[in-house]
């Protein structure tokens, strides 16, 4: 497997993080080598451009990829609300952005050649996987653009959703005029790729810290890779374990608690868009019979974890879960929360519940 030690990769990393990254991955692989599938894979855009192709051959690939995308038409939309040809064509553009080294044109045997980060044959295979197996585009290229971040993702790790970007804005709003929160200790439960934790880690004050937990070994590794890539290893601490379990020493100390736990009702899993249902980790999607198993579990623990005045924000499946959660926090949580709010996402769906510990 191509791992992160190639000298090329280090040029993409911030200088400060390079040595640390090298050390931490090296030492972990020496002491107890994890199964290879758990190691973070290098995303396409970080691979060294050691391949090349004649521009005419690349053009042929492009034509082929487009015709494959066009053949889809609205089939996937009708089937499971999947992507249509237009979207797939835009993905081809992004795939090329990631695969081609910019300004890399050269001449070889009197033909224009282009430097690639992946062999042309593999590019054929990747696009075939995308269309025929409905493999999510983000797994194909190994990254997702989220807020102003580019986060590495791979099979076994939930692809961060655009809706979730708003959680970072919500936190940004509350820390703006509140030093206690800005310089405090935060927790992101079920961090996955580390998206929320990294987003928050970048807006907290110099004293602010984030602890990110995840049960999944794959997520733990990938989140670690992303944290290192953004040079946040002193700000974001990863702990492996289920929800609040790794935070037992933090009771009553948290300034903030955020989470995007699995919230899809079990019965809905089988009907999901193929990219999601067939390829993304079920453990990050399935929230039990009414989808609220994990949300309620986290809420139950929130009161004991947050310090007075602490803030929380949770993502939900929509209006119904939001209402249910607010009701629970008002009635069953013994009046320990205040300023409870339901916040809609960019599409107008009531998506988040926020509030403060009294």
């Amino acid at each position: 497997m191509k791992l992160s030690f190639s000298p090329k990769l280090s040029t993409f990393l911030k200088p400060s993080s390079v040595t640390n990254l090298h050390r931490s991955f090296c030492s972990s692989s020496i002491s107890s080598p994890p199964p290879t599938s758990l190691k973070p894979q290098t995303p396409l855009f970080l691979k060294p451009p050691i391949h090349s192709a004649a521009s005419s051959d690349l053009q042929k690939w492009h034509d082929w990829a487009k015709s494959l995308a066009s053949s889809v038409g609205s089939t996937f939309v009708d089937l499971d609300n999947g992507p249509d040809s237009t979207l797939l064509c835009r993905e081809i553009k992004w795939l090329m952005e990631d695969a081609i080294e910019e300004e890399s044109e050269g001449m070889e045997n009197n033909q224009r050649s282009i430097r690639l980060r992946v062999a042309l044959e593999e590019l054929y295979m990747l696009w075939k996987q995308r269309v025929e197996e409905r493999r999510p585009f983000q797994y194909v290229v190994g990254c997702e653009h989220w807020r102003d971040l580019v986060l590495c993702v791979q099979e076994g790790v939930l692809i961060p959703r655009p809706e979730t970007e708003l959680i970072v804005d919500l936190v940004g709003d509350v820390v703006l005029g509140n030093e206690g929160l800005r310089e405090g200790l935060w927790a992101d439960l079920g961090t996955g790729s580390g998206a929320i934790a990294i987003g928050i880690g970048r807006i907290l004050g110099t004293g602010g810290r984030v602890i990110a937990t995840d049960l999944s070994p794959a997520a733990f590794e990938v989140a670690g890779f992303n944290v290192q890539r953004y040079g946040l290893q002193d700000v974001v601490e990863l702990r492996q374990g289920s929800w609040l379990e790794p935070l037992k020493d933090m009771e009553g100390k948290l300034a903030g608690l955020v989470s995007n736990p699995p919230y899809i009702p079990s019965d809905d899993i089988s009907g999901l868009q193929a990219e999601v249902g067939r390829h993304e980790p079920k453990v990050a999607l399935d929230g039990g019979i009414n989808g609220m198993d994990d949300l309620l579990h986290i809420c139950k623990g929130a009161a004991s974890m947050l310090k007075p005045g602490g803030f929380f924000a949770f993502e939900t499946n929509g209006e119904k879960q939001c209402k249910h959660l607010v009701e629970y926090m008002e009635n069953d949580a013994g009046g320990s929360f205040c300023n409870l709010k339901i916040v809609p996402d960019f599409a107008g769906i009531n998506r988040f519940v926020t509030g403060f510990h009294k």
Partner: protein, 273 residues
Amino acid sequence: MALAQSGWKLSYSNSWVRVVGVSRRSSGAAAKPAIFQASCPPPSPAIAVKIRRKCLSNWRWTQQPPQLLEDKKSDASFFIRCSKYGSSIGAASNTNSGKGYLASTDQELMSQCQMDTFKASGPGGQHRNKRESAVRLKHLPTGLAAQAVEDRSQHMNRASALARLRALIALKVRNTVDLDAYSPPQELLQILPQKSTIRGSDCGPQIGPNNPKFILGMQALLDLIFAVEGSVSEAAKFLGLSTGALSRLILSNDSLRLAVNELRFSKGMKPLK
């Protein structure tokens, strides 16, 4: 115009959407973005008021992709005239002149906008994996709209759309200029070449068209050029520049050039080349 018929849906898939309102690379009608078919003569201010009000009430969509019909109506409010002390149109902008919009922070400007995204059908969130992160911003006080689809995240598209909106405000929102007592504002002096005779040494180095601050100066320059009805030589006198030097400044930015030439065309003058 063909683009008008194809509208929003089609433009969504075309790469030229990238240039909406900012740097239209080619000239001529075909290159104009669908949302600003501005080649029609500017309506009189009175008409603009009327149409704009109609637009505002019609623009209360948030979830639906905008209808082309509404786009067409909003085109008519192409010229928006403001005084230094507030817009002469609409109650919403009483406290905010055209210059004020550009001086606002991103957050303030955003609060004056209605954001339209391509709403997913269905429950969204974890259910969904579609990279439709297009953002369209409608600036309610002026009726101007900008969009971005080419970035790979919602966040970046919003930032791009906002930057485009700023450029559009600079291009389309006019402040009245009192020529008898004219002295160029600081932001205009900063975009002038060093050889301008009225440019003090305190202006610092010339701000070029790629600097985000260029937009503020561009708005003030257009205010002046509109006040002298498109005459570059007249405007140059006010700025302590030769006609040639001001022409070069105008030609350094595609959207500025197009805006000036559109005005000159409407006055029967030859375009700058």
